[in-house]
Amino acid sequence: MTRQRGDVVVETRGLCMHFGGVRAVDQVDFTLFDRELRCLIGPNGAGKSTFFKCLTGQLIPTAGEVLIRGQVMTGAEPFDVASLGVGIKTQVPNVFDGLSVDENIWISARRWHDDRRARTLTAETIERLQLGEIRRMQLGRLAHGQRQWVELGMVVAAEPWLVLLDEPAAGMTHEETYRTAELIEEINKTAALIVVEHDMQFIRLISRTVTLFHEGGILMEDTMDAISADKRAREVYLGHRA
């Protein structure tokens, strides 16, 4: 299948995720185009992460549909979503703690390629993310920022066409955050991205269009500047900071 700029890659229709009486995500219609870079923001409990988990198959939505490249993925398992060529990074770093940096990234590349190619890709990814010094270290021994970084490496090594990142800059130093933003720009050259984030400075670094979540629904969708200028948006999220 050839991809064109402007194709819809992710679409949700009337997506709902209810936990008992709590409507964590309620009637969300969302569209992402190919090669787009979209940030999801919103206050705590706005439903961003729940929405993210519905997209990645970690939660089965109560109602509504998730379509990825036109394919209905509602209620699919996480590996079904990933098998479409989607790279996913969760909020809490999910890495293989007992394995080395090398092996972590190799396992990711090996999903798609034979051993030789996977090794090359691993070496390339390690160079690209400057992980050479710690490549032999076990993940369990690394600092939080480094673990986040390795997880990003695993996403990159799979050469995805769609990347879903939940708070990639959480707990990173200023320097690491800056590098993450650069990496995201680079990934965006070949893939569409959805980035859930709290860090406003980080969003300003990378954002084109921002979707603002509030109380389980989408409040507005615009550029960061427009959202910062909007009165309603300031009230729900930016508050005193703006």
Binding site: Q58, P78, F79, S83, F96, D97, R110, A158
Partner: protein, 347 residues
């Protein structure tokens, strides 16, 4: 097999070679009684190896590995009695056991049963076998020509040569077969854990969600390693009933189920030689303890388990490896040389 894999398997080859030397040297120096006893220990080592694979590498805490061991032994015995030939009976034992494990594993893994519940289910299955087969003492419980025999069990026909059903192996010859089987199983498992399949299984053990998010269907991998582990346990069962000469439902007892777990804990998860070595060591310890009446056998095993869980939680083999690595790092020149060798290797 590429060069890197061969290098990673070097320790495996080393221990296999050691086993080969032992296989040919032991009958020259040891008495027949000891050799027959050894055959039983070897069969248990194969059982430990199978649990080392699925628990140590697959992260699946199967509390009922003896169920597959016993099922293999029963399937062999019943088939051998009916066929009058041991070669297809061995094949049957492995097939029946693997098929049973695949069916059980299907419900466990595709039903997303995890951790503690998996242990409970596998143990329950074992105990069901235990009470079920104990009750089969009447003449009406027979499969083909084979009477199941209830708690007395069935006597197992000895292994015969593949091309000659009338030439049975003597106990000292069964020892060679058992040792060769152990070495082959050990080499196979050592190879398996270094393949893509094996390494993905280890990744699943480390973090199942991450493996899924990379696009691996973790249920299939877990089912695969579980079924292979059961097949290996069945080979152990075949050797066991040949060593002992009969198979009884006691094989399915809680004591044996727990013992298998103890071997792997003492030997160390994440290694293969550890649990195999621990099986031999504990087998001879319990035999030695059987000759005296001061200390209760189970008491000693219980104390060993507690001591290991508290003081050597990783088990013997991983602790030794850590200790050797720590010593190596203290000697800076050697460490440096090793590091440069490593970087070369990756190029």
């Amino acid at each position: 097999m590429n060069n890197i894999m061969l290098r990673q398997m070097r320790p495996t080859f080393f221990y296999a070679l050691l086993g080969l030397v032992f296989m040919f040297a032991a009958p020259q120096v040891l008495q027949l009684f000891t050799i027959i006893n050894l055959t039983t220990a070897i069969s248990l080592a194969v059982l430990a190896l199978s649990l080392a694979l699925i628990w140590g590498y697959g992260g699946i805490l199967c509390f009922g590995q003896v169920a597959f061991f016993g099922l293999g032994a029963y399937a062999y015995t019943i088939s051998a009695i009916n066929f009058g030939d041991s070669t297809p009976a061995i094949l049957m034992a492995v097939l029946v056991t693997s098929a049973f494990a695949a069916a059980l594993g299907y419900f466990i893994f595709f039903g997303r049963v995890s951790d503690v519940y998996l242990g409970v289910i596998t143990l329950t299955v074992t105990l069901i076998f235990f009470s079920l087969i104990r009750r089969t003492s009447g003449p009406e419980y027979k499969i083909g020509n084979a009477l199941l025999g209830g708690f007395n069990g069935v006597s197992s026909p000895p292994i015969n040569l593949p091309w000659n059903t009338s030439s049975f192996l003597f106990p000292e010859q069964v020892f060679y077969v058992a040792m060769a089987a152990l070495i082959l199983c050990y080499l196979f498992v050592g190879w398996l854990v270094n393949t893509r399949f094996g390494r993905v299984c280890v990744a699943i053990r480390e973090n199942e969600l991450r493996a899924e998010l990379l696009g691996y269907d973790t249920r299939l991998y877990k089912l695969g390693i579980f079924t292979i582990g059961a097949g290996i346990a069945a080979i152990g069962g075949v050797l066991f009933c040949n060593g002992v000469g009969r198979i009884t439902p006691d094989v399915f007892s809680l004591y044996n189920a727990a013992l298998t777990i103890i071997w792997v804990i003492v030997g160390g998860r994440g290694t293969l030689i550890g649990p195999v070595g621990a099986t031999f060591a504990l087998f001879y310890l319990t035999s030695a303890l059987g000759g005296q009446s001061v200390l209760n056998n189970n008491l000693v095993l219980g104390v060993i388990l507690i001591v290991f869980v508290l003081l050597v939680p990783k088990g013997v083999a991983p602790t030794v490896v850590d200790w050797v690595n720590a010593r190596r790092q203290k000697a800076p020149t050697r460490a440096k040389r090793r590091k440069s060798a490593r970087t070369e290797r990756m190029e």
